[in-house]
Amino acid sequence: MEFNINRFIALLKRELMVGSRNYLNVIFILLILGIKEVSSILFSLEYNFPLDNGDGFSILIGILTIAVSIQVLRASETKMKSNFGNSILIPASSTEKYLLEFIKVFIVIPVLYTSSIIFLFLIRQYLLTNLVGELPKGFSYLLVIKYQLKDYISILPLYSIVLYFSLFKKQMAILSVVFIVFSVLIFSTLDQLIGGVIAGKTVFNILPYYGTQGFNTFLIIFEVGLFLFFQYLSYLRIKEREV
C-alpha cells in the first residue's frame, strides 16, 4: 500500500492529457442519455406523478448508463494494445492507480451526468420556452440534484460491480449488467423452484420480509458489504494486472 501524493497528482495530469478526448465523448453520450432523465422529471412534475426513483427499472437504466460511460472512458485503453501496456507500465503503485479509477468512476462520471442534465434543463428554460412553454411549477435545480443524489446512493453497490468488471482487458463493463441481471434471475428462479418443491405447489416466497424495518437494516448492511467487497476486488484486480 504505497502512496505518494506527488506521483498521484502526476497520474491525474497524465489522465487529463491522454484521455481528454474520451471525456468529451462521455459528455456527449451523457447529454443524449440525460434526455430520458429530463423528460421523466418534467413528466412527473407536469402530471403530478411520483418519480420512479430507486425502483428496479430505473436502477437498471442507471447501471446501463454508467456501464456505457465507463466503457467509453476506457476506449483508448481497450482499442490499442500498446495503450493498455502503457497504462500497466506507468510508474505508480497499484493503490494510486486504484484511487484514480475510484475518482474517475465514482466522482467524475456522476458529476458529469448531473451537470449534463442541468445543462439540458438550462437549454429547456432559456432557449425552448417560446416553443414548448415554461417549466412546470415546483421545478428547481436543487430538486434535480436531489433526485440524482437519491439515484446515485441507491445504485452505489451495483456501481462497484461495474467498476470491477470494467478493469478486465476486454470490454466487460456492459457484461457486468448482464451478470447483475442474471444473478437476480438465477436467485429468483431457484428460490421459487425450491419453494415449489417444498410446498408441493407454486408459492411466492421471494424476500419474505421485504418492506419491513428489519429487512431495510439488513439491506443497508448487505449493500455496504457488497460495495466494500467489490472495492477490494477492484484493488486486487489492478494489482494482478501488473503481475
Binding site: D191, I194, V203
Partner: protein
C-alpha cells in the same frame, strides 16, 4: 477456496476466484434463508405483503414470475397518483374514483 479447486477453477486469478466463491455463498445463503423464513411463519409474511407500497410491489413483480401481488386503486391514491374517471383501470369492486377536486 479449496472447494473451487475441486471444481476445476484452479488457474484463475484470486479476484475472480473470490468473486465466484462469495457469489455462490451469498446465493445459497439467501435462498435457504428465504425458504426457512417463509415456511416457518407464512401468515406473518402474507400480512407484510399487504402493507407494501407501489414501488415495492413493482420491484417484487419485476424479479419474480409467480408473483400474486396486485396494486389496488387505494395504493395508487396513497402514493400520490391522481386517477381520472375515464382512464383508470377499474378493480373488481364497483368503487368509482372521483376526479381531483370533486
Amino acid at each position: 477456496m479449496k472447494i473451487l479447486n475441486y471444481i476445476g477453477i484452479k488457474k484463475v486469478k484470486k479476484s475472480v476466484r473470490l468473486l465466484i466463491g462469495v457469489w455462490l455463498i451469498v446465493l445459497v445463503a439467501l435462498i435457504s434463508f428465504d425458504n426457512i423464513v417463509y415456511f416457518s411463519n407464512r401468515e406473518e409474511v402474507e400480512k407484510n405483503r399487504e402493507k407494501l407500497s407501489i414501488d415495492q410491489i413493482r420491484n417484487l413483480n419485476m424479479i419474480s414470475t409467480k408473483s400474486n401481488l396486485t396494486i389496488s386503486e387505494q395504493k395508487y391514491i396513497d402514493a400520490g397518483y391522481i386517477l381520472d374517471d375515464q382512464d383508470t383501470i377499474k378493480s373488481n369492486s364497483n368503487d368509482t374514483i372521483n376526479k381531483k377536486g370533486e
